[in-house]
């Protein structure tokens, strides 16, 4: 890990532990509104979680300070990152879930599968067709045919 990556890592950990600390304190406070029997365990958890998060926050703050002191002596070379792949990897799954909600499982899966394959660099139409058909056929046989489970219908088509 380069110095800049270590610094980002430590800042990220500090941020997450601060969020966790706030979250566990909220869990502790919110547990006060439950009945006597139901509040004990969440309160205990909130306390233990908050203590762990506070220790982690302290550790990451110390690490950030130590890195600042020694940053001048470290290499700052970063690694090359293919941003296109990163964007596809984070946007792909939520976008597919959105399509599922709007268009239903079958149409969304045809679009999602074929679209992702093309976006990821597969240009042979027969391969795209074979993968899309094969995957959806096996899902149909497994879930709808064997178990009788109807896959979700889209809100747009239902309306």
């Amino acid at each position: 890990m380069t110095a800049s990556e270590k610094s980002t890592h430590a800042f990220g950990t500090a941020f997450v532990s601060a969020v966790a600390l706030a979250g566990f304190l909220l869990i502790f406070v919110e547990a006060g509104s439950f009945g006597a029997g139901a509040r004990l365990f969440p309160r205990l958890l909130g306390l233990v979680g908050a203590m762990s998060a506070a220790v982690l926050l302290g550790q990451s703050c110390l690490r950030i300070l130590a890195q600042r002191r020694h940053s001048a002596q470290r290499s700052t070379a970063g690694s090359a990152l293919d941003w296109r792949n990163v964007v596809i990897s984070y946007v792909g799954p939520p976008a597919y879930a959105g399509l599922l909600y709007l268009l239903g499982f079958w149409i969304a899966s045809v679009l999602g599968l074929a679209g992702l394959l093309v976006l990821l660099g597969e240009r042979r139409p027969l391969v795209v067709l074979a993968i899309t058909t094969g995957t959806l056929l096996s899902i149909y046989l497994m879930f709808e045919f064997s178990f009788g489970i109807r896959m979700p219908e889209g809100v747009l088509l239902a309306a």
Binding site: S17, F34, G35, L45, G49, H70, P94, A97, F105, S109
Partner: protein, 499 residues
């Protein structure tokens, strides 16, 4: 006595119709268990309607075979894709997937099959030999001991976060909190539901596991490209893995015993057994640094413990009618449908059925060994498929599996949310496994703590004054302290600036 029981069981189980039922159930279980989102429970649910017309022994043998096969094939996806098919297979990912990355997917699957087979056979023989003493030991475990066992499981798993045990504890606390979401099991009060009806039943494991493991893995496939096997080819064979299991007899026996010890306690389950066995193996190893890098013992230990605990959980289920988990509960349902009540009546009045069932499980384990060896190599070829083809297929399969569980769209949203949590956790070295274990044991821990305090009139010393729970809690504290000290020392040596 043992030999008589085995012979009695053999004569009952070795008929063509029962063997055929077991074979079909094994193949079906293998296929269903490998599908994301479908596990032993779904597989058993599919078979149950067909068992109504069978004789009682064929019915329970079919259900047990499908459950064992689906449970074991859940480990295949853990090894090949780093996506555990079942929660109990999560610990198999630690060393199984690194082996797959080194091109040793078939060997890792062989190790998993070999360890599962040996442990299942030893577990079943243990149940046959000592079913009654085992049950009396299990009954000595009360709520304080169960709470302590859950606590030691969490301590062990948090200590697996090598870079920082604090991160492991934060994730475990998050998992425990997630287990409190929904209607409170003790008082029936809704907690942390934010007014959403979908959250009243609590947070299900399938979307959480799919998000944390599958979605996170799919994201990393898209970013890194290439194939899962970094060598680009498969090395070794499945049989090599199966026979390699026997090169680690101490690990195999130790983990099997851990599995039997945990499995016989009703309600604790095979998840804790597999994590405990992994950690016991790592702590007893002369070179613990190999664990997590593809150590064969890291595959053998969780697989052996998982399977022996499932076999051992049959002891309280059959002798007392107390199911150790959901699968043994379904087995009891199948028995009762045929008019057979578990308990002492089963031991005395239906001994042929009981021992026929237990010996049939050994035959089923052998059948699984042979069938899964045939399937293993074709399945392992998935590690040679390019990530850009694999990622879209698994994304669609995973979401279909998540939806199929409860047919709620909200589960897909949960999988996406936990996918993002998993990606952030991976980037910042927060281990996802303590979160999963926290979610799994949360209800057991809460119920046990509340029951213990009710027994002791609110006196917390009950956890420390009882010898078994006191020892287990002391061990949990020791694990946390030792891991913290070891981490501090390692950091001081490796990077004096950051320590």
């Amino acid at each position: 006595m043992l030999l008589d029981s085995v012979l009695l069981g053999l004569s009952a189980a070795l008929t063509w119709d029962r063997m055929l039922v077991m074979f079909v159930a094994t193949v079906l279980g293998l296929v269903l268990g490998a599908m994301p989102g479908l596990g032993p429970l779904a597989a058993m649910a599919l078979l149950i309607p067909f068992t109504f017309t069978m004789d009682p022994l064929a019915a329970v043998l079919g259900l047990a075979s499908i459950s064992v096969a689906a449970n074991c094939s859940g480990s295949f996806s853990a090894i090949l894709l780093n996506v555990p098919g079942e929660t109990a297979s999560t610990a198999t990912c630690f060393d199984g997937h690194p082996m797959a990355r080194q091109g040793l997917a078939t060997v890792a699957i062989g190790l998993s099959i070999g360890a599962s087979f040996v442990a299942a056979v030893i577990g079943i023989l243990a149940v046959i030999a000592v079913i009654q003493p085992l049950v009396s030991v299990a009954l000595a475990f009360g709520p304080p001991e169960n709470a302590a066992l859950a606590a030691i499981g969490i301590a062990f798993v948090s200590s697996l976060a090598r870079k920082s045990i604090t991160k492991g504890l934060v994730m475990a606390a998050l998992g425990l909190w997630l287990s409190t979401v929904g209607i409170d099991a003790v008082n029936g009060e809704p907690r942390y539901t934010f007014g959403l009806i979908e959250l009243q039943d609590g947070i299900d494991l399938v979307p959480v596991m799919t998000g944390l493991f599958a979605v996170t893995e799919i994201v990393s496939w898209i970013q890194e490209r290439g194939t899962i096997s970094r060598l680009g080819r498969l090395e070794g064979s499945v049989w090599r893995g199966v026979f390699d299991t026997l090169r680690y007899p101490v690990s195999l026996v130790r983990s099997t015993l851990v599995g039997i010890g945990v499995g016989v306690i009703p309600g604790v389950g095979s998840v804790i057994a597999s994590f405990l066995a992994y950690e016991v193996e790592r702590l007893s190893s002369r070179s613990p640094g190999r664990f997590g890098q593809g150590a064969p013992e890291g595959v053998i230990a969780p697989e052996a413990a998982n399977n022996s605990s499932i076999s051992a959980s049959l002891a309280p289920a059959l002798a007392l009618g107390i199911p150790g988990g959901a699968t043994s509960a379904l087995l009891l349902v199948a028995l009762m449908v045929h008019g057979i009540r578990p308990g002492s009546m089963l031991l005395t009045g239906h001994s042929e059925l009981l021992f026929g069932f237990l010996v049939g499980l050994i035959i089923g384990a052998l059948m699984f060994l042979l069938v899964s060896v045939l399937f293993a190599r074709p399945l392992a070829l998935v590690t040679l498929v390019r990530a850009e083809l694999l990622a879209p297929i698994f994304l669609v399969l995973c979401f279909a599996g998540v939806y199929a569980q409860d047919q709620q769209f909200s589960d897909i949203l949960l999988a996406i949310i936990f996918g993002l949590v998993g990606c952030a956790a991976k980037a910042l070295d927060f281990p996802p496994v303590p979160l999963v274990l926290g979610l799994v044991v949360g209800r057991l821990l809460e119920t046990s703590v509340v029951q213990s305090l009710a027994i002791s009139d609110g006196d917390w010393t009950i956890f420390f004054t009882r010898p078994v729970s006191g020892s287990l809690l002391a061990m949990a504290a020791l694990v946390i302290v030792l891991t913290t000290l070891r981490g501090v020392r390692r950091k001081a040596i490796a990077d004096p600036v950051e320590s």
